[in-house]
């Protein structure tokens, strides 16, 4: 048994934590949240230069990490600082899919991503799919030497900034089938592709996407025709480790802010942290925080395991983090009182990051059902 991080990962953690402490103060982040782009291009390139993106890719893809604990270390730090820059979309989902499936030509995109010069988006969810990864109604029809995509994609994070979109589309089978789903690299300026962008409540931007007969070369296909589902599941598994770790980091910050407030805020002539009613509730948050940390370790440690055990551990982590995260976010706000209701106070954004994790790739109940299914079979 050894729960220590490797020397390399500890250094990555220190570097990232120091950078974000210096460069990602609450006021800076609040300005980024209010900006039109929804994230900072300067912060993005600086973090790329520090190797943060490279840490999310394996060595044979030009990175120096890419394993479960690399993802967990990076995203826990991003979560602690409430970072809204699209590492999940560009590096884990988009970059991860190209790295996993891309031809030699397509792999060139990964190098651009690692260098910080290219954004990607994963256009998979649809208006009727909710959290079901197999529900793809967008179609890909072979037409001569090309392919034509038709359909709609919902709440696609980072779509407007992306140079390329990784779009899932069905080449055969029915809407709920796992087989028959292909992935395509679609350039942002493709004819027939239209975006309706909007801000997201927890930071960043997303878009509704229409694919109105988008014509691509067959070489735009990522991986084999109709065989994209397993790669989607792997990319989403990695995203779920990232989301769980990010929520954990945000929970650490929420708890630390609450501790400071309980020690300094005085009412009735004494610090409110001296009231036992609050002390016990704060103690419960610390207990849940350690449970959440262990859940992230379980998920990260099984990311390279077989798909079934991997997904069972991930469902467990997302369910536990969903429950613990909601408790921490709500209790942190409640114990602060009015100040936590204000947009400019750090906790407001941190609480939104925690709670809104529940709306990406399955909520607490969805992961509970998934855990039950995977445990029974």
């Amino acid at each position: 048994m050894n729960f220590d991080l490797t020397e390399e990962r500890r250094m990555l953690q220190d570097t990232l934590r120091r950078f974000l402490k210096d460069r990602y103060a609450t006021a800076t982040r609040n300005a980024i949240l209010d900006s039109d782009a929804g994230f900072s291009a300067d912060i993005w390139t600086d973090l790329a230069d520090l190797g943060v993106i490279g840490a999310l890719f394996a060595e044979d893809r030009g990175g120096f990490g890419g394993a479960g604990f690399d993802i967990a270390v990076v995203f826990e730090e991003l979560g602690r600082a409430g970072v809204v820059e699209p590492f999940l979309e560009t590096a884990i989902l988009g970059g991860g899919l190209v790295a996993a499936l891309g031809s030699d030509d397509q792999q060139a995109l990964v190098a651009d991503v690692i260098a910080g010069g290219l954004h990607l988006a994963f256009a998979h969810g649809e208006p009727n799919s909710r959290y079901d990864l197999n529900r793809v109604e967008t179609t890909a029809r072979v037409d001569g030497d090309g392919v034509v995509l038709t359909g709609a994609k919902a709440v696609v994070m980072n779509a407007e900034a992306a140079g390329w979109l990784i779009v899932s589309a069905r080449e055969s089978g029915d809407a709920g089938d796992e087989a028959g789903i292909s992935l395509f690299l679609v350039p942002a300026d493709a004819t027939g592709l239209s975006l309706r962008g909007y801000p997201v409540i927890s930071g960043g931007r997303a878009a509704e996407i229409k694919l109105d007969g988008v014509r691509l070369q067959a070489s735009a296909r990522l991986g084999a025709a109709g065989a994209g589902f397993d790669a989607i599941c792997t990319a989403v598994a990695r995203a779920n480790v990232a989301l769980a770790a990010e929520a954990l980091g945000a929970m650490e910050t929420a708890t630390a802010l609450t501790r400071d407030y309980l020690m300094t805020r005085k009412q009735f002539g004494r610090p409110i942290g001296s009231f036992q009613a609050l002390q016990h509730r704060f103690a419960d948050l610390l207990i849940e925080l350690e449970q959440a940390r262990s859940a992230v370790i379980n998920a990260a440690g099984h990311l390279e395991a077989g798909a079934k055990e991997r997904d069972r551990q991930i469902a467990a982590a997302r369910n536990l983090i969903g429950r613990a995260g909601r408790l921490v976010a709500e209790e942190a706000i409640q114990m602060h009182g009015g100040i936590a209701m204000t947009q400019e106070y750090e906790l407001a954004h941190i609480a939104k990051r925690i709670v809104m994790t529940d709306h990406r790739f399955g909520d607490t109940d969805w992961h509970l059902e998934r855990f039950i299914d995977l445990s029974a079979a």
Binding site: P199, V200, Q267, A277, G337, T342
Partner: protein, 399 residues
């Protein structure tokens, strides 16, 4: 034991329903449903409609031009109005200040201010909380020093709801710092146009400009604007707080919210089936509905006791705690029901522009409402304070 309304009460409910169906404008209904933010003009419009019907000042005695409704009638109206997605009646002048003026104000104050509240000429806001005086309200520090025919007010109030619309503020101020905290507080009526007052908006975590800071620098307030006696303000404030808590359970809002969640759950699909048929979601929904059914009866039991002349005790604290827990649980269910479509947060969705909503019907405002309604368990005496009151009354002594 008889759980049903009397024939008179049922007739009254039918009258309220018919009125809401015919008189509540569709634009206001749509905004309350979450398709936009109510403006001052919207709120004034609804007040004017109610005032014309004679239903605005529901709790006022007839001698002041009120409807003098019974607690049961008020409950029926609140429940029906919430179900019909009517705007909430802005309470600051009507149900918070007016009862204080009617009981403790001078004849001149009653004659001047009460008609202006009814007509909408005056919009009042509440100057109670301060940065250092939240749950511990009696520790407030805003000072009023007598100078001839005026008080000179200095200090800062905060969490002043809709203060940006107000032309008047009722304030608790310290007029004596040499005595026990509660015994040195006075109740002052202040014109917001007086030099030295500055209102600064506080943007809440869902982006809404709902509350404000109000700063007072050498603000001169005529002594005739003192309500009742100097240093008796705490008594009046406590009287006001009992009025603030009359609809504290929010049963009508919860019922309307629950219906909205059910509508969404019937159309949102998960695993190829409506979310309403998902056993986990259905169980969560059922659980909160069961709580709400009991809460509605708890609320009516307390209202009936009040109608029979019993003063509410710890019951209003109980209604506040459980009522807000239920409302927040419904907000959480609405957020879950919307799925990924809880994430979009376009400013036009809250500002009421003409663009089509991003996601399916009803999903637009759910996350913002979830975050905004965290306030329910904080303001009006936090749930911790309410639990403290219950424990103190039932256990005696300690906190």
């Amino acid at each position: 034991m008889d759980l049903s309304f009397s024939p008179e009460e049922r007739a009254f409910r039918d009258e309220v329903r018919a009125f809401l169906a015919s008189s509540l404008p569709d634009e206001l209904r749509a905004k309350v449903r979450g398709e936009g933010r109510l403006t001052k003009a919207d709120m004034d419009r609804w007040h004017a409609i109610l005032n014309e019907k004679g239903w605005l000042a529901q709790n006022w005695p007839k001698e002041f031009g009120g409807a003098a409704w019974s607690p049961v009638q008020r409950h029926i109206f609140e429940e029906e109005a919430a179900r019909a997605d009517a705007p909430r009646i802005v309470p600051f002048g009507l149900s918070m200040l007016a009862p204080v003026l009617q009981k403790f104000g001078s004849k001149a104050q009653q004659d001047h201010y009460l008609p202006r509240i009814l007509s909408g000429e005056d919009w009042w806001c509440q100057g109670y909380s301060e940065p250092g005086a939240g749950s511990d309200l009696a520790s407030l520090k805003t000072r009023a020093v007598r100078d001839g025919d005026h008080y000179v007010v200095n200090g800062q109030k905060t969490w002043t709801t809709l203060g940006q619309h107000a032309n008047r503020i009722f304030c608790l101020v310290r007029t004596d710092s040499t005595v026990k905290q509660q015994e040195g507080i006075s109740f002052l009526l202040i014109d917001m146009d007086t030099p030295g007052i500055e209102v600064r908006p506080i943007i809440l975590l869902d982006g809404s400009p709902e509350v404000n800071e109000v700063w007072f620098t050498d603000v001169r307030v005529p002594v005739e604007n003192l309500v009742g006696e100097e240093n008796k303000g705490w008594t009046y404030a406590k009287y006001l707080l009992t009025h603030e808590r009359t609809n504290i359970a929010g049963v009508g809002s919860s019922q309307a919210g629950l219906e909205a969640v059910k509508r969404m759950a019937r159309t949102q699909m998960q695993g190829g089936k409506p979310l309403a048929q998902n056993p986990h979601f259905a169980a969560r929904l059922a659980q909160v509905e069961i709580d709400l059914m009991a809460m509605a009866t708890t609320n009516l039991r307390i209202i009936s006791a009040a109608a029979a002349g019993q003063a509410p005790g710890v019951e209003s604290s109980m209604l506040k705690v459980k009522g807000t827990i239920i409302r927040q649980e419904i907000n959480d269910l609405a957020r879950r029901a919307a799925g990924p479509y809880a994430m979009p947060f376009p400013s036009e969705a809250v500002e009421g522009a003409n663009e089509a909503p991003i996601g399916p019907d009803g999903t637009g405002p759910v996350a913002a409402q979830y975050f905004n309604n965290r306030k329910l368990s904080i303001f009006g005496g936090s749930n911790e304070i309410q639990r403290g009151i219950i424990a103190k009354v039932k256990l005696g002594g300690g906190q």
